[in-house]
Symmetry: C2
Amino acid sequence: MVKLKDIADHTGLSINTVSRALRDSGYVSAQARDAVLKAAQELGYKPNMAARSLRNQRSYEIAVVNFVIHERLYCDTLSMEKVAGVQKFLSATDYEMTLHYMNIGPKHEEKSRRSFSALLRRKPAGIICVAGGEKSTSWLLAEASEQNIPLIVISGGHGMGCDSIYIDREQGVFDAVKFLFDKGKRNIVLAGVTTCSGRIEGYEFGVQKYGLQNLFFNVKAYWHASIDKMFYIGKSCVKDLLKKYPEVDAVIAYSDYLAAGLVAGFQVVGRKVPDDIAVVGFDNRELCLFTDPPLTTIAQPNAEVGEAAASKLLDKINNKISENNDVKVPMRIIVRESA
Amino acid sequence: MVKLKDIADHTGLSINTVSRALRDSGYVSAQARDAVLKAAQELGYKPNMAARSLRNQRSYEIAVVNFVIHERLYCDTLSMEKVAGVQKFLSATDYEMTLHYMNIGPKHEEKSRRSFSALLRRKPAGIICVAGGEKSTSWLLAEASEQNIPLIVISGGHGMGCDSIYIDREQGVFDAVKFLFDKGKRNIVLAGVTTCSGRIEGYEFGVQKYGLQNLFFNVKAYWHASIDKMFYIGKSCVKDLLKKYPEVDAVIAYSDYLAAGLVAGFQVVGRKVPDDIAVVGFDNRELCLFTDPPLTTIAQPNAEVGEAAASKLLDKINNKISENNDVKVPMRIIVRESA
DNA sequence: CTGTTAGCGCCTTCAA
DNA sequence: TTGAAGGCGCTAACAG
């Protein structure tokens, strides 16, 4: 393994000068610098991160914590695409990404605390929390900041009291309203639950702006209902929806699973999608490809979000930024055939 | 941070004795051992892995390489569940899991080689390749073994010439044949492509054993066709299938996407699933929940496979096993309503 | 601008 | 059975 000493021997300089040259930390003549860089290149030098970590008393590990709100979300595509984005960014740096899973919710709190402590004891250079927008994890932010470990949350909402990259659901739904309005739809229903953050605000802003009626339809599902249940609810709530809003000509659903159910339900009662009623989903799940017709939906740019989070975290680690702030990332409409 | 010296001071022993006691490497009196363990517990000692790595000239990083055969497979659920299984196992050890992505196929080879070299230069303690069953990656196995880095492949086939955990597709399809036979089906078609490894063998073994006709139906799809295309092929091949095998009363499809298409296609032509024709899919994708009726399928135990791979890799790292061998993991049928 | 020195925490000699 | 010494590769502090 090529080490500093090898470069030192090769160039006739001291180990220290080589080290300074490679780290670009000044006090090196241009001549020495060039010689070192050339030798390092030729010999294929790679720093020994273990030695560097030991010396600097800090690791070069970025821990990504995937918050698992629900058993089925262990490998949720939306999260995993973000993780892949983080890894993509880090692969071009000296940092390594480690991946961790943590259940949240009251009955997992003790175990989560223990595993988070274990994580902190490894002193990662930074932490990225994926999907950790829940209030129930504030203890985690506190612990990390207490130990001075930079942390960024990828979240569905802003104002976490820490750095965050957040998906602008509000704008996404607003865009969907605009999209439907431009298609000539004038009676746009939002089908969701009262707690579906961002979506309601974006919807209300949209209908207000375009002078439309606020037609909120509460599907009365649990936020974390199983996905097939959500589908079933969508399919079976169609009658109620049509009774409550007979004039409806478009629906924005708070999840693709619900939207898929609605599409199936409308078919059953003989309403044509999208001509009679347009349907827009949310999240761009794989399922969108298989509904009939395929589902137009509002997508998160997951990979980009992951990359942005990693980039911002490294800035924070290197003290390029100081005060906490939220970076907003836009959603965009994926147009298929349901709207 | 609590280090060996702290425990040494606390117990009045030397650093060295403490170290030996903690690592259970003998030459320590029972008395000293107990005192050390107690102190370590009390003080909350955790080894400094950077120091240990530096000293031992080896890392405690297990690199998981997720092979990406196709753009959409970056975050394929089947792979990611395996990754989660690896992480679950490792979280109870001193090892860390890092995650990497690598495209395979001729046009990515150069980049892959570079990124694999970069990975090897970090000297991971071991490597787990997920979905790396392709011949095109043999160079990778060679490089790892050249550098003496233990490697395990999670694969769809055996006989990789290295340690592997492989999913027994053959048995999975055989079980499906048995399952359908027990349901009274006697004209079971296998719908797939000629290259879908394991499935054909399992099918042929099954029909032979139960004295059935070998009814293979070639769907003429590319192995890596996009998933919506696969669905479409399934839907549109129904007529050909019925023409070729009018007597068919069950179909085993080589992928859930194809199976979902078949279900949709049978509905169009008025064949009832499962009464007229039973359909069994492969992989247990999320889509199975949303077909009408929901899809019975053959599932891989992904998490278990990941755990098994991690366990076996650590054994290999610690020289508990020597010669290469393949561990076969069974698939199992998930019964829903399509069969 | 450059080189020497010391030490991060751990583990492997080797001596007691 | 125990302890002392040395060094893994790197970088900060200091001296030249």
